[in-house]
């Protein structure tokens, strides 16, 4: 079975590593790609430059506070792009500010998750994301 492709957009290497470790426990075979800022994220999605061979992600895990290009901009760009807008975007961020939640849902984020501070909870959340989006949900074939 073809592995599920995931793109993690996260500037904090520690957080990225935690996500990766948590996903290692996954039942479904998945490939996780990781980029560190918004510009890289768009290049990856559009298969530009160094990313010309990049796989098309089935799910995007997107942090909001990114250098160079902010996560909110990335979200807006993805959902405005005819080709990319069908890819579910899961916002995974430390912020719990009401404005952020509203704004990202307005920009058609598929869901908004606050990164738990506790490791166990974080692992549970990542597992839940994986279970939900990769096992339960039917993703569109591109």
């Amino acid at each position: 079975m073809k592995p599920v492709e995931m793109l993690l957009v996260e500037d904090n290497p520690g957080d990225a590593r935690l996500a990766i470790e948590a996903l290692k426990d996954a039942k479904v075979h998945n490939n996780l790609s990781w980029v560190q800022d918004g510009v890289e994220a768009m290049a990856f999605l559009r298969r530009q430059g160094a990313y010309s061979d990049a796989p098309r992600p089935d799910v995007i895990l997107l942090d909001l506070n990114l250098p160079k290009k902010d996560g909110r901009e990335v979200l807006a760009d993805v959902k405005a792009d005819d080709d990319l807008r069908r890819i579910p975007v899961v916002i995974l961020t430390v912020s719990s500010a009401e404005e952020d939640i509203v704004k990202t849902y307005n920009l058609h984020a598929n869901c908004y998750i606050r990164k738990p501070i506790d490791l166990d909870q974080f692992i549970e959340v990542v597992k839940a994301i994986k279970d939900f989006w990769l096992s339960i949900v039917i993703l569109p074939t591109h």
Partner: protein
């Protein structure tokens, strides 16, 4: 020859019993208007031409004495005339004096009436009355001049007063009444007023200075407060991320390598994980505490029954686990920050559940209106609090128990206190050790406050 008339026929004496007439004496004659020689008055009723040729008449007229008499009369007449003339002249003179004098007096009085009291009529006259009159007018003019001058002095003095007091009232504290006056009353008034302005301006200057100081101090305090709140918030917020890293990876380490390293390593990891978790708890609490101020929302009408429902919903796990029975009276609607109200009630009920006795917790939430304020109470049948700790429990991070006895960092009640104080109320506790506690807090009643009185 004229017909002669008998002399005695000429006379017609009024006196009917004129003896001359009676006697028909021929040597009595009467000239109209004169006395009868014999001193009998009479007068002619009609003038009859007398014939002087009448011998008897001629014979009877004493021409000389008549001439003498006439002369005397003439002289008297002349004298009389000259007397009259002199009198006339005198009268004319007096009249003229009078007229002149009166016209001078008139002019003088006219001047005075037109407002020029500086009148001095030359007090010469031949008429004493006029002299006296002029003197009186001059005196009056003098008095008037004095009065006008005095009134002028007062007007100037009062104008200076008005000017100075007006300037003082408009904020010019240096204004004083200057100038001197010969009027004693004005001088004393001036001194008193200047003295008063001195004291008043000193007080005002002092008060302004004190107010300014106070304002500056308040401004500094407000700035300092805001800075501190910002600092606390940012510090706790920014501490989250590195803490997360430490905490998460130590825990990951524990998971991944537990049992794979030696026992010491396990212990060390255990302490590190525990420390990290507690640090996380403390920072979370600090954030919550500082957010009461920085993230407080404006007040809106809030139905406290719904607040209670939401709080109980959040506590459903703890409620179920402890089999707690939570009852309540109908609660009022108040002007408040709903999120913070939920936090407040949730903390109080959570404490009531946490600090329970062996029996199942029975918790009651009620409110009543007293002296224009809502007094809420959350009462329980838990372990109670010793009265000497009534104040300490509301201080930040103060705990009355060891961390192994009851969980928590001791932030709950200080957050409650902050929330209550933000809403303009106070919070306190009444308790009986090992029997139960009753926490009270007040909320102001506003026009839109509804709810049951009891």
């Amino acid at each position: 020859m004229k017909e002669k008339v008998k002399c005695w026929e000429v006379f017609q004496c009024e006196e009917k019993e004129c003896p001359v007439y009676e006697s028909r004496e021929l040597n009595c004659w009467l000239i109209p208007g004169t006395h009868c020689r014999n001193e009998i008055q009479g007068k002619f009723l009609e003038k009859i031409e007398m014939c002087l040729e009448c011998e008897p008449l001629k014979a009877n007229i004493d021409v000389d004495s008549m001439g003498e008499t006439l002369k005397v009369v003439n002289a008297q007449l002349t004298e009389f005339r000259s007397m009259v003339d002199e009198r006339d002249r005198e009268l004319e003179g007096t009249s003229m004096e009078l007229a002149l004098g009166l016209s001078e007096v008139f002019e003088g009085l006219k001047e005075i009436s037109q407002g020029n009291p500086g009148v001095a009529i030359p007090e010469t006259s031949n008429l004493e009355l006029i002299t006296k009159l002029k003197h009186m007018v001059n005196l009056t003019a003098e008095n008037l001049t004095e009065i006008v001058d005095l009134s002028h002095e007062f007007a100037i003095g009062l104008a200076q007063h008005f000017d100075a007091l007006d300037r003082v009232s408009k904020g010019d504290l240096a204004a004083r009444i200057s100038g001197t006056s010969e009027v004693e009353l004005l001088e004393s008034l001036k001194n008193v007023t200047n003295h008063m302005i001195d004291s008043v301006s000193t007080e005002i200057t002092e008060r302004q200075r004190a107010e300014q100081e106070l304002k500056e101090t308040l401004g500094e305090l407000a700035r300092s407060n805001a800075e501190l709140e910002q600092f606390a918030y940012v510090a706790s917020h920014d501490l989250q991320e590195p803490l997360r890293m430490v905490s998460s990876f130590v825990q990951l380490l524990a998971r991944r390598y537990q049992g794979k390293l030696d026992q010491d390593a396990d212990e060390f990891i255990g302490f590190a994980v525990d420390g990290a978790k507690r640090m996380q708890g403390l920072i979370n609490d600090l954030l919550t505490y500082s957010r009461v101020g920085t993230k407080g929302k404006p007040f809106q009408t809030t139905d406290c029954n719904r607040v209670l429902s939401e709080a109980l919903l959040n506590l459903s796990a703890a409620t179920e686990e402890s089999s707690a029975v939570i009852t309540n009276d109908n609660l009022p609607t108040v002007m408040a920050d709903k999120t913070q109200m939920v936090q407040l009630i949730q903390n109080l009920v959570a404490n009531a559940i946490k600090f329970r006795n062996k029996d199942r917790p029975c918790i009651h939430v009620s409110s009543e209106q007293k002296n224009g304020t809502w007094v809420f109470s959350v009462s329980d049948n838990g372990i109670g609090i010793d009265s000497e700790y009534y104040d300490r429990i509301f201080a930040i991070f103060q705990r009355l128990h060891g961390k192994t006895e009851y969980p928590g960092t001791g932030i709950g009640l200080s957050v409650c206190k902050r929330i209550v104080e933000r809403h303009g109320g106070r919070i306190w506790v009444d308790s009986e050790f090992s029997k139960g506690s009753r926490f009270y807090f007040t909320m102001p009643v506003t026009e839109s406050s509804l709810g049951s009185p009891g």
